[in-house]
Amino acid sequence: MSVGRIGLYIFLAGAALFFAIPLLIVVMTSLKPMDEIRAGSIFAWPMAPGFAAWVKAWSSACTGLACNGIQVGFWNSFQILIPSVVLSVSAGAINGYALAQWKPPGANMLLTALMLGAFIPYQVILYPMVKIMSNVGLYNSLPGIVAIHIIFGLPVMTLIFRNFYAGLPDELLKAARVDGAGFWRIFWEIMLPISVNILVVAVILQVTGIWNDYLLGLIFAGREYAPMTVQLNLIVNSQMGEQEHNVNMAATLLTALPPLLVYVASGRYFVRGITAGAVKG
């Protein structure tokens, strides 16, 4: 092995350490009792690892007045996640199919409008959206936050599916129409079966995106349905007295775990989703 190769591996190993360290200290500290953290360092290996801090973080950590643990946020996030993902991915698939395969008049204009809409920062439309949501009676409610996730997911979801369906040969649709199939039958019987890959990519993108959302949950979900990220920040950043680092880090890890598992399980699909979501067409 040449000197250059060795240098290359040393640099890569250093980079890997840089990427691993935040996760490592969170995992290690969450497994330690508090006196070990006081006496030692968060970079040290746990001497007597245990899950006591995890149990406390899950079931009895305090956010302000209530001490029911981060599980409250977990179930809120779960209830927000399922309908938001199902509905926003379905909406994206149908929109993308209608835009790319049927090319109705104005399709290009709608596409451009959606693409630019994806770049508008939430902060620009937050206040008017709050007004609209409270006027229709959905502000601070579960259906309200789900509706918000669907609306803010529309641009990216539609564009991902549009790009996929635009890459299919036109003959597919023409042949089906000669056979007398209509809009919905073609979608169900021809388009959906060949869309499995792109559906997986879209679902991964939405699951991680919605689970990790903080701002929309903070503003639109209300106290009762505050998602896990909002609750986590409350637990950690509003604590009085001595910081219980092990409980805080266990709560952090529990919040990070679902998207982390999705990432590990999905591998290359995840990368495709992230780049598709980022590059937007």
């Binding site: 953290i37 920062p121 439309i125 809009f183 689970w211 503003i219």
Partner: protein
Amino acid sequence: MRSLAARLVLSPTALITLVCFYGCAVWTAYISLTRSSFFPNYEFSGIAQYTRLFSTERWNVAYANMFIFGVLLVAGALALGIILALMIDRNVRGEGFFRTIMLYPLAMSFIVTGLAWQWVLSPSIGVQHFVRDLGFPDFTFDWVARQDRAIYTLVFAGVWHQAGLIMAIMLAGLRGVDRDIWKATRIEGIPVWRVYLGIVLPMLRPLVVTCVVLLSVAVVKSYDLVVAMTGGGPGFASDLPGKFVVEFSFERANIGQASAAAVVMLGSIFAALAPYFYIEMRRKAT
């Protein structure tokens, strides 16, 4: 008639796009030109909100921070991402391992990222504490708690979160380079690093521009990272426009100032997108 179903299906999306994205943006822009403060007040006042905004110290700090954070994050993530992509492109062993570890931060929320880095950099339990315990009692690294340095600590966390994305995009580009170029340059005896610098990277310039645009847009939108990591503090030393707008909209309830600040954010996004439009237009012209 052929596309009636398609039109029906798309009309809710068109309506939502029109009302929720453009209608609301126009609404915010309009509020920013009125005398609104606690309540919206639709009496026109010209650019008074903007002149007041840019004479508010907190806003000026937040706005300047966006540029400090932005320049360093774009440069840092781009440099690290490209170097990592080049290295992985040299057929390293354990590529899957390195890719996995470099990309997992993208699955983490900014809240989790901010909290984790807050602990790593915390003077009382993090790096400073660790190095002092190693036998350097005078070692000091307390940037996260320092008024003049807190904004720089956000860059560590931001680079950590985004470098993997740049690596993935650039690596895909490197893998797409024509193999004949490598064959030809090897026959000519040109050193590998010169092929990368002189031929391959210039070929990937559009991808680099895409990365710069993506990172810049992310910078303007930054919000949760600073909330979790420094809370905008100490004081408001590490505040960012995204946090300024949310706080002035909902906690301090000054909707006029919040709207003006939001419009400045929108303008910044357009500025960040400009290189992209420029390239698109040049591509269409040729």
